[in-house]
């Protein structure tokens, strides 16, 4: 009997069953008060049968069965849970009531977690080829788009916050992407040459890495505390600085902060990647008559590419998350909603900022993982 038990499945079942026992939604007479929690059977007329089906799936997941079946079951359950949330919102709020809110509650998040883990576990066990994994990522995005676009979730509190902020949501989304990718671009522009330089001049390694290490340990709030007066002073006193975009608050210090936090991963991975190239390969390259630049461009960088892409992955995911703090100093991005929501104690608004941030980071992480793997594979003709 023990041999037929699936240990990860056991964990997912525990999480999921806890989710079923906790409230699926929170019903609130208006957006600020704490409401009452409703479990799945109470929130929806078809709630009890759905809860039983989900429980059955979770328990069945404790036994061993093929990964493809687990994938299909967990996907169906995920869609079911999300649609149940939308249906509960529509059912609980009278059509003419614009004040009442139905927000996802702890049970919903746990169910989402349980079935997402089950799905990720199933995908990992299937070991799909790279192209298939790209298609899975695309399919997941399309599915999310379809569910959101269908209007099934329009009654949920977060979507109601979205409905009244559609324009600013798109604007802050763009600002968020600009902050994350802009700081990444700057970090690559400065960090790659810096990494190459300290690889060629070992004497520079300790000082450069020490400074970057110290930068990395400064908390973001403290960094802003330093930058706001500093850049404010520069903008006020240096002619042309304000016109060039330098300011104490806003996008500029946010971009600078993200850039500074990105430097260490970029520089240290560049150094690690270049140092990982076998000494005999470099020795041979020089001995055959490649110039220093040719050794770098034709041997070191191509061989270090997987490690360099890993740095891009780290920085991109890190900056998508960190960019939230830009909202604190007027730098824009999804953080704007998070801090507005915190000020108004409106958790739905916080979620409107947090959920897309998490989604962006997840997608960026998965996509970069796939890129790293593609680059680490042998060039064509290498198949035995």
């Amino acid at each position: 009997m023990r041999g037929r038990l699936d240990r990860p499945g056991l964990l997912f079942a525990l999480i999921g069953l806890a989710g079923l026992a906790l409230p699926l939604v929170q019903f609130k007479p208006n957006r600020i008060v704490l409401g009452e929690g409703l479990r799945l059977p109470d929130a929806l007329s078809a709630g009890l049968p759905l809860a039983l089906v989900l429980a059955a799936l979770l328990l069945a997941g404790c036994l061993r069965w093929p990964a493809a079946g687990r994938l299909a079951a967990s996907l169906a359950a995920l869609v079911g849970v999300v649609l149940a949330l939308g249906a509960a919102a529509n059912a609980l709020v009278p059509p003419d009531n614009t004040l009442a809110r139905v927000a996802p509650a702890s049970g919903f998040w746990l169910l989402l977690l349980a079935f997402s883990l089950m799905m990720a576990d199933a995908v990992a066990r299937l070991k799909p080829a790279l192209p298939v994994r790209w298609m899975l990522l695309a399919a997941a995005l399309v599915l999310v788009g379809l569910v959101l676009g269908s209007g099934a979730l329009d009654g949920v509190s977060v979507m109601r916050e979205y409905a009244v902020r559609r324009d600013s949501f798109l604007r802050e989304g763009q600002a968020h992407l600009f902050l994350a990718f802009g700081s990444l671009g700057l970090a690559l522009l400065v960090g790659l040459p810096l990494g190459v330089a300290i690889h060629q001049l070992p004497a520079g390694r300790r000082p450069v890495l020490s400074v970057l290490n110290v930068l990395q340990t400064i908390p973001s709030l403290a960094l802003f505390g330093i930058m706001i007066p500093f850049f404010g002073w520069i903008a006020a006193t240096v002619p042309g600085a304000a016109q060039a975009g330098v300011s104490g608050i806003g996008v500029f210090p946010a971009l600078v902060a993200l850039f500074l936090y990105s430097l260490l991963p970029v520089v240290s991975n560049t150094l690690t990647g270049l140092s990982g190239v076998h000494p005999a390969t470099q020795e041979a390259a020089r001995g055959l008559g490649l110039t220093r630049a040719q050794v770098l461009g034709q041997v070191l960088v191509p061989l270090a590419l997987p490690v360099l892409l890993a740095a891009v992955r780290i920085v991109l995911v890190q900056n998508i998350g960190l960019a939230v703090i830009a909202g604190l100093i007027g730098g824009g991005g999804f953080g704007t909603f998070v801090f507005q929501g915190l000020n108004q104690t409106a958790m739905d608004l916080v979620l409107l900022g947090a959920l897309p941030t998490i989604a962006l980071a997840l997608v960026a992480g998965v996509a970069m993982d796939l890129l790293v793997q593609a680059s680490a594979r042998r060039p064509k003709g290498a198949r035995p």
Binding site: H278, A280, T281, E283, A284, A285, R286, G287, L288, G289, L290, T291, Q294, V299, P302, L303, R378, P379, G381, A382, P384
Partner: protein, 311 residues
Amino acid sequence: MIEIRNLSKLYDGVAAVQDVSLTVERGQIAALVGTSGSGKTTLLRMINRLVEPTSGQVLIEGKGTRLLPSHLLRRRIGYAIQGHGLFPHRTVGQNIAIVPRLLGWSAEQIRDRVDELLALFQLDPVAFRDRMPHELSGGQQQRVGVARALAARPDLLLMDEPFGALDPVIRAKAQDDLRQIQRQLGTTLILVTHDMEEAVSLGDRIAVMDKGRLVQYAPPAEILTAPATPFVRDLIGSDQRPFHLLSLTPVHAIATEGKAEGAPLRREATLRDALAECLWSGRDVLPLEGGGVVTLAALRAEAAPLARAAE
């Protein structure tokens, strides 16, 4: 002809190579031997200026090596190292093509040269051209490394412990092949090794290095029979001396008239092979392929340098 004149290299005031002068004739093999830290590799790397000499000069065909930028100099000198140093992200063909490509050969010339070299090193061009280095055995990788060094038809080839990573069986074969190809192409070869046996079997002359100084530079027989210093004698090892000496001469050189029983010996086999066969089969006389014999007495005489010198 390679002329090394008073070459020295100091690191922080300490001499890695001190005042070394030697000449390697065109088409000859010079083996640099010594313990680790003796400066043999530094000396080799100063020839293609991977290490810049502190003083002294290197002349190739009478021209100083400092007249060219160092990377252009290196493209004219073959270079092969231990562990081959093949580019892992390039195919075998692309690896061999590196220097011709740097020199701007046409694609057609390069393709022909790659196939020619693969065939020369007994690797089927069709099967090996597009393989990646990691798909080859150690011996094949080593051959591709040497083929790459020879790609642009250099007159001079430098090798640093080229067979160090190979097991003994493949190693002996690789040495035979190298000598054959070197004779065929007429390339001048300077080779670093810590293995006296390799130096004796490959070198036309052996340069023994100790603590950065050249202590003896002479043909193998002279190194074996008249070591210049106790260091040279220790490096050879007294237990190995007669065998090294016997390995220098082929059997047909001391063959005499006569007939003998048993399986005949190849004419190119060395005296060392003949002695081993005598001991193993308990015979005093061995027949040679194509007639003639070699006797145990003659082998003994050859292995005793003092007796031989007295003749």
